[in-house]
């Protein structure tokens, strides 16, 4: 069955409280090379269908409507 891999990340300029905290924790743990951490979502969707175009359209739709909040997040995906 086709699988969509979806990546949801924060838009530029949106503060990422989790990323900031993890970065600070890593600092404290002695990982001095880490410059920046961004924590987003990785979503895998198993989807029925054979028409890749159609599937991509559907995935794009559910990302836009539900999986990401366009006010603060952006997304990319690939269908395999």
């Amino acid at each position: 069955m086709p699988k969509a891999k979806i990546y949801v990340t924060f838009k530029d300029g949106v503060l990422d409280p989790q990323g900031t905290t993890v970065k600070r924790a890593l600092d404290k743990m002695g990982y001095k090379n880490i410059e920046e951490v961004m924590i987003g979502k990785y979503i895998e969707v198993q989807i029925k269908g054979t028409d890749k175009k159609q599937i991509e359209k559907e995935i794009d739709e559910i990302c836009d409507k539900l999986l990401a909040n366009p006010n603060i997040e952006k997304y990319t995906f690939k269908v395999e």
């Binding site: 300029g13 949106v14 503060l15 990422d16 409280p17 989790q18 900031t20 905290t21 409507k65 539900l66 999986l67 909040n69 006010n71 603060i72």
Partner: protein, 230 residues
């Protein structure tokens, strides 16, 4: 007056809101999220809780509940809608209010009493308050870090949409009195028209001296007075 309280499967302040409405000697009714109409209410409350476990993002799934279309229509007609905590998050996700909610800067759930400064006393929800009045009301959330960009903030300010800001007991507003990292210490906003309020603090928990404060009442009093005049 008749208040409709929208109940999602994971709402958990629904009963508290009903109780608060009844404490104010008003009628209240639960409205199941699958309902088609909310037309026969004078005001709506979207209560706190975890509508769908707050999985994915708080309020993200709730926004698609069937009742939300009629909530929009209700709001478009200029009738008062209050979203408390999770209710606020849902209104944001549904686009009834601008902006978005991020996880608290501490990454932790915070439940405690805070002080709010009333920024605007002309809305249906604050007309009984003095401007700058300080209200003691509890918060209880993990995603209450209100976010908007500078442009939106300017718009909010220009339209007097900021309703409440976090402050200390003397009214001082700064980073230290900001419990969750919200932009501009924002605790509550209204829509442009002023008839939709979203706020993170729980006025329904501050209705009685024995619960720690009666400051929540003034928000309900304001709505009732507004409805009477309408």
């Amino acid at each position: 007056m008749k208040f409709g309280i929208i109940v999602f499967p994971g709402s958990n302040c629904d009963r508290d809101c009903l109780w608060a409405v009844e404490e104010m000697k008003q009628k209240g009714e639960f409205v199941w999220h699958d309902s088609k109409s909310v037309a026969n209410y004078d005001a709506l409350i979207l209560p706190g809780g975890f509508s769908y476990g707050d999985y994915l993002r708080s309020g993200a799934i709730a926004r698609f509940a069937r009742v939300m279309d009629s909530v929009k229509t209700f709001a478009d007609k200029g009738k008062p809608v209050i979203g408390i905590c999770n209710g606020f998050q849902i209104l944001l996700e549904a686009g009834l209010l601008p902006g978005a909610m991020l996880t608290n800067k501490t990454l932790k759930f915070i439940c405690k009493y805070v002080n709010l400064s009333v920024e605007n006393n002309t809305s249906p929800f604050t007309n009984k308050c003095e401007k700058g009045q300080i209200l003691r009301v509890p918060i209880a959330h993990k995603e209450g870090n209100y976010f908007c960009d500078d442009t939106l903030l300017e718009t909010l300010l220009a339209n007097k949409q900021v309703a409440f800001r976090y402050c200390d007991e003397k009214g001082k507003i700064n980073a230290e009195t900001n419990p969750n990292g919200a932009v501009y210490n924002i605790a509550g906003i209204t829509n442009k028209k002023g008839n939709v309020l979203g706020l993170m603090p729980h006025p329904e928990r501050a209705m009685k001296e024995t619960l720690g404060s009666t400051d929540g009442k003034i928000i309900f009093e304001s709505v009732i007075s507004y409805l009477k005049k309408r």
